[in-house]
């Protein structure tokens, strides 16, 4: 014990921060790589013609954005993560895990500590030096926790992302209002993903059947989309900032800027559509083409988002 003890007190600050989250199951990181390289299956839609193509695109956009696509079930049990308590610090101070994963806190310090959630959802009780405490997290949440005897020891646990079997088994029907960005963004995305393809669809129907009411409906949908999409993007940025570095770098970069660009295009589209609406005209071919491109971009955008959530 004495020599150990001394090392602890002697260890420089650099030493104590080198302990990262050790992933015992390395499968996850490989999965991301494959996702990036394999390209986007949704950007090359099947060669449907005319109306069917648009219908297909709209359906795919809706489905991918709503995120109900089939997922590969991950092995139950999840990954193990370790947080080392040393020199009156939690290392690392922020851990991101997936639902179903287990986090183990190892007390490598010479003092007793606790792992106590701010919201009261868990409390380890005193963990004596050399002992550890672990817990499996099933619900998506961001929890700040601290050590009761040493309130200056603060850290954060983020449970998010790919739901595995045990997570789905614990899903309940209980109503709870959305509070966190990972709840807001997927909800808002539905509106964006539904309104734009339907607006295009409605305009095309209007041209085919020569009905003004279809065009009016299209104008309103484009307007709603232009109002809601900035909120969707804002929630997305919020989520990203809350998440930090734990996202696949390439995918999130494309997703965040494509999303931000989409906001501009939605507003442009709304102005364009408004001018057409004021003339009480049918939208031009150029407008419809522009909208179609935007729909395809949204489909791709939705598939990127889905991959980051479900890790496919």
């Amino acid at each position: 014990m004495p020599s150990n003890l001394r090392n602890r007190w002697v260890a420089s600050k650099n030493d104590c921060f080198c302990v990262g989250v050790m992933r015992r199951n390395q499968q996850d990181s490989h999965e991301y790589d494959r996702t990036v390289r394999s390209g986007a299956p949704l950007t090359t839609p099947p060669p449907l013609q005319g109306r069917r193509r648009i219908l297909g695109a709209a359906a795919v956009a809706f489905l991918s954005a709503v995120c109900v696509g089939a997922q590969d079930a991950q092995p139950a049990g999840g990954t193990n993560h370790i947080v080392v308590i040393k020199q009156v610090h939690f290392n690392p101070a922020r851990v991101t895990v997936k639902p179903g994963d287990t986090v183990k806190w190892e007390n490598d310090d010479i003092f007793s500590h606790t792992v106590t959630a701010e919201d009261g959802s868990f409390d380890s009780g005193l963990i004596d030096p050399g002992h550890s405490w672990q817990r499996t997290f099933t619900n998506t949440q961001t929890v700040s926790y601290h050590c009761r005897p040493h309130p200056n020891m603060k850290a954060t646990l983020v449970v998010q992302g790919g739901k595995n079997t045990s997570q789905r088994a614990s899903v309940t029907l209980k109503w709870s209002p959305p509070r966190t960005p990972d709840e807001f963004h997927p909800i808002l995305v539905n509106f964006t993903a539904a309104l734009l393809p339907l607006a295009l669809f409605s305009d095309i129907l209007g041209r085919i059947f020569r009905r003004k009411s279809f065009h009016h409906a299209a104008w309103w949908m484009v307007l709603y989309a232009a109002v809601i999409t900035p909120l969707t993007a804002a929630a997305g940025w919020w989520w990203k900032l809350a998440e930090g570095s734990d996202l696949p770098a390439k995918v999130i970069t494309v997703h965040q800027w494509l999303g931000t660009a989409a906001v501009m295009f939605f507003v442009t589209l709304a102005i364009w559509r408004w001018r057409i609406h004021k003339r009480d005209a049918s939208p031009s071919f150029a407008y419809l083409t522009f909208t179609l491109i935007l729909v395809l971009a949204v489909v791709y955008q939705g598939s990127l988002g889905g991959r980051m959530v479900f890790g496919k």
Binding site: P2, L5, R6, R8, W9, V10, A11, S12, Q87, V88, H89, I110, F111, S112, P129, C147, R148, P149, H150, P151, N152, M153
Partner: protein, 179 residues
């Protein structure tokens, strides 16, 4: 009650000022054996006060805090002793450690005379002030003057622990309703 608090605050403030002054004048640069002695003394004082608290209090929060102080400062004391042994440093008395002991004797007298709620509040607020003073002393005197790198980093390493005790003591003080 208020008067006694005021008296205490005044006495304490003077004590800290005197201690700080003493550090500057007499012990401008405490030697490593003196630094080890100061750390040991500071540890022992907190352990003694916690033991007194365990005898006198019936408040579970105060008991929990006192038990923690005994446990943490005993561990810290052991690691400091081990380190001193390893470095061949024999802890020595200094004006600062003598000052600390004198203040502790006075505080013990005061605590002994109090009972119940009054004791709990006095103990909590003294723990706040005491840890703050020790943190300040470590920052301004002990760390800058420690010659041996291991001793220096040991004192630096104790800072987050003392900060934790300070914040815990502040919580305790708040929940006891003494401001």
């Amino acid at each position: 009650m208020k008067l006694s608090r005021l008296c205490f605050a005044t006495v304490f403030t003077f004590a800290v000022l005197i201690a700080a002054g003493e550090v500057k004048t007499y012990a401008q640069a405490p030697t490593d054996p003196q630094i080890a002695g100061i750390v040991q003394t500071a540890n022992q004082i907190d352990i003694n006060h916690a033991k007194l608290a365990l005898q006198k209090t019936s408040n579970p929060q105060v008991k929990e805090f006192a038990n923690q102080m005994i446990s943490d400062h005993t561990s810290l004391q052991k690691s400091v002793n081990d380190l001193a042994k390893k470095l061949g440093v024999t802890p020595q008395d200094s004006p600062t450690s003598k000052q600390l002991k004198q203040q502790a004797t006075d505080e013990t007298k005061k605590l002994t005379s109090l009972r119940g709620d009054a004791f709990d509040k006095e103990y909590a607020s003294h723990e706040v002030a005491y840890h703050q003073a020790v943190i300040d002393a470590a920052k301004t005197t002990l760390i800058p003057n420690a010659k041996n790198a291991e001793l220096k980093s040991a004192v630096e390493g104790a800072a987050p622990l003392l900060q934790g005790h300070l914040e815990h003591a502040q919580q305790l003080e708040k929940s006891l309703g003494s401001k």
